[in-house]
């Protein structure tokens, strides 16, 4: 009986402790719900509505049939049908859409030469690229079969218009799908590594920085610092600098390991990748400072940081493209700094872009950094 009583006290103590720490209770209750939502809707769903443009330089029944088929396929979200080839490519290059399906000018013409449909594909987004590639191949395969069947009927059916049957028949024999992967043939690991680097820096900075502040607050080390004639910003600045130094070394190790272990190619160069990671690290150190500004213990901090870090990890496009997520998560992604870090990392590492090309990502990251520091310093007080 006595042992049972002791056992019950263990449970009771935890429950009382939870009741007296609403932030922990909130995290415990809400976190699983967030995870289920993210996994269920994010990773469990099919990849649909990938943004594409169709460059249609031809007119006719076959073109109309092809456009209808593409538009009614769930994989695609046809942003626009245009006729300017350069504009179509530019939209893919800029990242506005994932691919351009280019129907050539002779697509609807009766011709002896082979018609070449081009899929101009952003291969840096490896998962989306794979889906688009197989889906487009499937569409034209099905179109061919459909046309073949139609043609077979048309030869026996006098009611069908001869021009359509002829055109579709030619398509079956003459069409070819040429895939232009603008960033080469990128493996999934190539797609994953830039974001994993960003994610690792995020986790390390947020967890490490917060644990340092909350930990030192808990042990009284922070109090000793604040009893000296030293400003809050100096103490925070010192903490940031020391953490950043460690993160720089860690970032370098990560990059080298990625190259050695996964043979990842860094098209934009190691230095630019490193600089982007440093900007990201600075931002997440600031995030950690902001969250830990008034946290009393390491345990409290761990509970507070999880509801921020885990959703950010899944919503910011580390494992799958943002465009494939439900609209609410897509909107949510743009309030998380990791989204911009991932975007910049992939642009530098996979697309070979330079810092100038990702200036917007960097400016947003630095903006987040400034915001976090200001809030962190304002929230921070010497009452430790």
């Amino acid at each position: 009986m006595l042992e049972l009583n002791k056992f019950w006290w263990m449970i009771k103590k935890e429950l009382i402790s939870l009741k007296r720490h609403p932030s922990r209770l909130f995290a415990i209750l809400v976190f699983p719900i967030i995870m289920i939502l993210l996994f269920g809707y994010g990773m469990g769903g099919e990849m649909t509505d990938l943004p594409v443009v169709v460059v249609s330089q031809s007119h006719g029944d076959l073109t109309d049939l092809t456009l209808d088929t593409i538009k009614t396929t769930e994989t695609y979200h046809v942003v626009e049908v245009i006729d300017d080839l350069d504009e179509g490519k530019q939209r893919v290059d800029s990242g506005e859409v994932k691919a351009a399906i280019i129907l050539p000018s002779d697509y609807d013409k009766e011709s002896s030469s082979q018609k070449s449909v081009t899929l101009y594909l952003d291969s840096s987004d490896q998962m989306a690229a794979q889906i688009l590639e197989s889906s487009t191949q499937g569409i034209f395969y099905r179109l061919s079969n459909m046309v073949a069947a139609q043609t077979s009927v048309s030869t026996q059916d006098a009611d069908i218009e001869p021009s359509i049957g002829h055109s579709l028949n030619n398509f079956k024999d003459d069409i070819s799908l040429h895939i232009n992967r603008i960033y080469g043939n990128i493996k999934y690991i190539d797609f994953l590594v830039p974001a994993v680097l960003g994610m690792t820096v995020m986790m390390s900075c947020m967890m490490g920085m917060g644990a340092t502040i909350a930990g030192e607050r808990e042990t009284g080390e922070l109090a000793r610092l604040f009893m000296t004639p030293t400003s809050v910003s100096t103490v925070i600045g010192g903490k940031i600098a020391s953490k950043l130094l460690i993160e720089l070394v860690r970032a370098l190790i990560l990059i080298v390991m990625a190259i050695l272990l996964f043979n990842v190619s860094i098209k934009g160069g190691i230095l630019q990748t490193f600089i982007v990671l440093v900007v990201g690290a600075l931002c997440f150190v600031g995030f950690g400072i902001m969250l830990s500004a008034r946290t009393q213990t390491q345990e409290d901090y761990a509970q507070i940081v999880l509801p921020f870090s885990m959703p950010m990890m899944f919503v910011s496009g580390v494992f799958y493209p943002i465009e494939t997520m439900p609209w609410i998560f897509q909107k949510l992604a743009y309030i998380f700094p990791l989204t911009y870090l991932n975007d910049a990392m992939r642009a530098i590492m996979l697309k070979g872009q330079n810092l100038g090309d990702v200036w917007l990502d960097l400016v947003i990251l630095l903006g987040f950094t400034a915001l976090f520091f200001i809030i962190g310093v304002k929230r921070f007080n010497r009452d430790v």
Binding site: T219, G220, E221, M227, T228, P229
Partner: protein, 349 residues
Amino acid sequence: MKNAIETYDLTKVYNNNFTAVNSLNLEIPNKSIFGMLGPNGAGKTTTIKMLTCLIQPTSGSATVGGYDVRKNPDEVRNLLGMVPQQVSLYKDLTIIENSQMCADYYGVPRDERDDRIEDLMELVDIKYAKDKLISQLSGGQKQKASLVASLVHRPDILFLDEPTIGLDPTTKRTLWDLITELNDNGHTIILCSHDMHEVDMLCDNVGIINTGNLVAYDTPQGLKDSLLESNKSQLSDTLAEISSQDKVSKSTKTDLENINLRKMSVLLKNQNDEIIDVIKKSSHVKSIEIAHNGRLNLRIDAFDELAVQDVLKDIISSGGIVKSIYTEEPSLEDVFIKATSEVDENARA
């Protein structure tokens, strides 16, 4: 400068409307050892936090070394050293490294820094462990290391928060000697402790804080004397009543004037088991000991003046004749318990 620390109506109200310190007026003489006493949650820590500029007072003011804690926090911080109850040095650094860091935070000139640390390590006798990590030190060594780091900038005023808690008697005495020596060297020392013997022995002045108020302030002897006077006053009615009865000898009247509320020694003319049983049954008597000379040494578990009166009435009503009563001098612990027992429970909640 007469006083190292002065507070005027110093008040701290936290966001949840809890008044931790309530109009505290305190003067701590320069170069003295001041004992700050109070039960847990009395407002000592909040007072120290305000005096060390960790938090701002809600109202009132305080000066440390003549500097206002609101207007000149950096000047105040330069004057202060703090040895907290929980050793707050970096555990992965050595004593020297921690002390060097503290020295640099206080702006101690580089060419003096290492010499000062060496001298301090010699003073507290910890030089033999100078290259050990803090995590490798014993409790007493950690406190000594903390003292070195806290004194490296030569603070005028040193706060010691439970400096000897958990230490063995020998180390405790070493630290007491050290505190006295530091005071002799001109440091004003504010000692927060629950060890009444330590405070009684070391401190020039003692202040007892309760529910955010200063409820007692004097020298240790002054506090004990005032309790004695208070007891006498409280017992005046009892004396009058008991002295009028035949069963109390006239000579006990003088003895009663020295009575302490908690401890007394009674000699009866006609002591027997029946009377002892009656005394044992009294709700006020915590313990009873029959000494070899026949005296009954009683420990009274109450501060109510009626407690002693009740016990004496019980003795008399059971046929006992009081021959004499002796009492011990109140201790500082008695003073503390008396001062803090008059707590308004509502205020503490």
